[in-house]
């Protein structure tokens, strides 16, 4: 009986996947040009990410503030970090769309560069998805109430799914700089500054 239920669940899941793929086939992905890449990018301050993920900062706050003030400070830092992670994810998506449009039409060493960019994109997306899930759970829980769930350290988010978030994003930036080396120096400068 249980096996039949699982088989039907599998059939239903596959049907949903087919509907989704048909929807994707129906809708078109915009072929981004350099002019509609930069306005969609949101700069991510690496030093701010470093400071948010610094274990010493967590320790210092915990030591200096009382429990209530520490929880408020951590919630504020979590919201800031969630915004930064969202920016990383969005930037990665914009870059990969631009990369796919640009590198699919060029020749020479493009496949290697495209695959490096794709790998870096997958790493950033995976990290940001897992980090955002954890942040959403933390932000939705009544932290430090009744002594049940202690306020977590933000430094625990440095790694998610076996991936270092900041390192993954730096690799994406490096891969993008390498992949778009054919842009004019001004365009490349604008692009990298917007990351």
């Amino acid at each position: 009986m249980l096996s039949i239920i699982f088989v039907w669940l599998l059939i239903a899941a596959n049907a949903v996947c087919y509907i989704y793929l048909l929807y994707r086939a129906w809708t078109r992905v915009p072929r981004r040009d350099i002019f509609d890449v930069v306005p969609f990018l949101h700069p991510v301050d690496s030093s701010m990410v470093e400071s948010l993920l610094d274990p010493a900062e967590d320790y210092s706050l915990r030591w200096r503030l009382n429990r209530r003030a520490f929880r408020e400070a951590q919630l504020r830092r979590m919201r800031v970090y969630r915004e930064l992670v969202r920016r990383m994810s969005d930037n990665s998506a914009v870059l990969i769309e631009f990369g796919r449009a640009r590198l699919s039409s060029s020749d020479t060493s493009a496949p290697g560069l495209a695959s490096r960019l794709e790998d870096a994109h997958v790493a950033v997306q995976l990290y940001s998805t897992l980090a955002r899930i954890r942040l959403s759970v933390w932000l939705s829980l009544p932290l430090d109430r009744f002594g049940l769930i202690p306020t977590p350290d933000l430094a625990r988010l440095r790694k998610a799914g076996d991936l270092d978030g900041l390192k993954a994003y730096e690799e994406l930036k490096a891969a993008a700089a390498e992949a778009f080396a054919q842009l004019t120096p001004d365009e490349l400068e604008t692009l990298t500054r917007s990351l």
Binding site: L10, L21, A110, Q125
Partner: protein, 253 residues
């Protein structure tokens, strides 16, 4: 059933093989290429065995041997798909676990299904049928996982890996559905069962043809450095080490 209609998938597989050869897709997905080559060879072998009216055992043996071959290659293709989609991420722990977990789930589901509604076969054929249902389950699970990754990781779905998964996923769902209904309705369902599976497999091959009709770029293999380049790197490294040594002594002085 009309002999011509029964072999429509064979013709479509031959067309797919032509597209794969033309676009050098065998470099991108070698196991799927092996699956298609095997599919064409198995179709031809079954057709030839069917013509040997005097030896019904030949067709019987050919059919079940090729079914087992389809099962093994079907599983290998699924392993290849995960590696293709995840790229370097496939080396991570969760990437390495994805295939074995799907395989265990598929085999478990097939065994419990066989326990609830045992196939009407005995001996090696029993295991082939159970294995076939397990392969269909694994293909459905991996198809669902890969499609779930498209919105989550914002992947490009128009690539060979997703084409292969979509074809297998669709065919597996129909095969699982038909097998479930077959055990409910019994042998009076046989005619519809046969036809539906042929149509579903033909649709799967059409999906593959659609995906493989355009070339996909593959990663160039990294070039090994030449002897001169290695010597140059070695000399640079030696210079750098000398400089470090001198700097160390300067610090002490």
């Amino acid at each position: 059933m009309n002999l011509f209609l029964r072999y429509i998938p064979l013709g479509l597989l031959a067309l797919l093989l032509f597209h794969m050869l033309r676009n050098r897709a065998y470099k991108v997905c070698p196991w799927f290429f092996a699956y298609v080559v095997f599919g064409v060879a198995a179709g031809v072998a079954r057709f030839a065995a069917r013509l040997a009216y005097n030896h019904p055992g030949t067709y019987f043996a050919t059919y079940w041997t090729t079914e087992a071959g389809y099962d093994i290659l079907g599983i290998l293709v699924m392993y290849e798909l995960i590696r293709m989609v995840l790229g370097s991420m496939a080396r991570r722990l969760w990437g390495r676990l994805m295939f074995p977990v799907s395989l265990v789930a598929g085999v478990g589901l097939s065994l419990s299904r066989a326990h609830a509604a045992p196939p009407q076969f005995s001996g090696i054929r029993y295991y082939i049928v159970v294995g076939e249902i397990a392969v269909r389950c694994v293909q459905s699970i991996i198809f669902s996982l890969l499609v779930a990754m498209v919105p989550l990781l914002r992947l490009r779905w128009r690539q060979y890996a997703f084409g292969i998964a979509t074809g297998f996923g669709g065919y597996s769902v129909v095969a699982l559905l038909m097998t479930t209904k077959f055990s409910d309705f019994g042998t009076r369902f046989r005619f519809l069962w046969g036809w539906t599976l042929i149509v579903a497999y033909s649709l799967a091959v059409l999906i593959w043809i659609w995906f493989f009709s355009v070339p996909q770029k593959q990663d160039p293999k990294p070039r090994a450095p030449s002897t001169e380049e290695l010597e140059r790197y070695q000399a640079m490294l030696r210079q750098y080490l000398d400089w470090l040594r001198r700097m160390r002594w300067r610090c002490f002085l």
